[in-house]
């Protein structure tokens, strides 16, 4: 009974490619997030959606585009991948503004 799931778990791709990461939560939460964890393990919020509406959009290159088809799904599409995009991307969900339930992460490696 996975609460927050992400696919794929690992993603290896070439520079310049376009890729997507999918996230689904079955907790009935209204809010979903994308976080980026860099090589130093620092976690930084990228985006947040509340009931399919974008509520947080941090300073992220516009090559990154989140999409929320419904409140249980939040996908992340990345265009023209760069070496610096290599990181672990975590999806999370919450019902209020503070709790976070995290997915297992997607390790993106750009070659």
């Amino acid at each position: 009974d996975t609460a927050v799931s992400q696919t794929p778990k690992y993603l290896v791709t070439q520079m310049g490619n376009d890729k997507s990461i999918k996230c689904e939560q079955n907790l009935g939460h209204d809010t979903m997030y994308w976080y980026k964890q860099d090589s130093k393990k620092f976690l930084k919020i990228m985006f947040s959606y509340n009931n399919k509406e974008l509520i947080i959009n941090e300073t992220v290159p516009n090559r990154f585009s989140p999409k929320s088809p419904d409140k249980a799904h939040l996908n992340l599409h990345i265009n023209s991948l760069e070496l610096g995009d290599s990181a672990v991307y975590f999806c999370a969900s919450s019902q209020d503004i503070h709790w976070r339930f995290f997915g297992p992460g997607t390790r993106l490696t750009v070659l």
Partner: protein
């Protein structure tokens, strides 16, 4: 804006010994404070949280943390660590928005 500092990048502790991880926060009002644990290759799991009330909070896996407003601290403790406690530990502070801010993390190594 709120922020979190975890002064210790890496801590090594013997199995069975006590553990204390430091966390200092910066926020103008009463903060919402959290500790998360990340095992190797895994996502983050919530250990405990402080919103209000009793300043000593109990969490899962035998962890506890104490909120000290005067020191702007929320240190995590465990009386006796197990080898399975080897992980990355993150302190986080939340405010009245959706931006939960994380510290840089402390890596805990447990030696036999």
């Amino acid at each position: 804006a709120q922020s979190v500092t975890q002064p210790d990048i890496h801590i090594t502790v013997s199995e069975g010994a006590s553990l204390e991880l430091r966390c200092n926060y910066s926020y103008g009002a009463t903060p919402y404070l959290f500790w998360y644990v990340q095992s190797p290759g895994q996502g983050l799991q919530l250990l405990l949280k402080y919103f209000s009330g009793d300043t000593l909070v109990q969490g899962i896996k035998g962890f506890e943390a104490e909120f000290k407003r005067s020191q702007s601290s929320f240190n995590l403790r465990k009386p006796s660590v197990h080898w399975s406690d080897a992980a990355e530990y993150f302190c986080a502070v939340g405010a009245t928005d959706y931006k939960l801010s994380f510290g840089a993390g402390t890596t805990v190594t447990v030696r036999a």
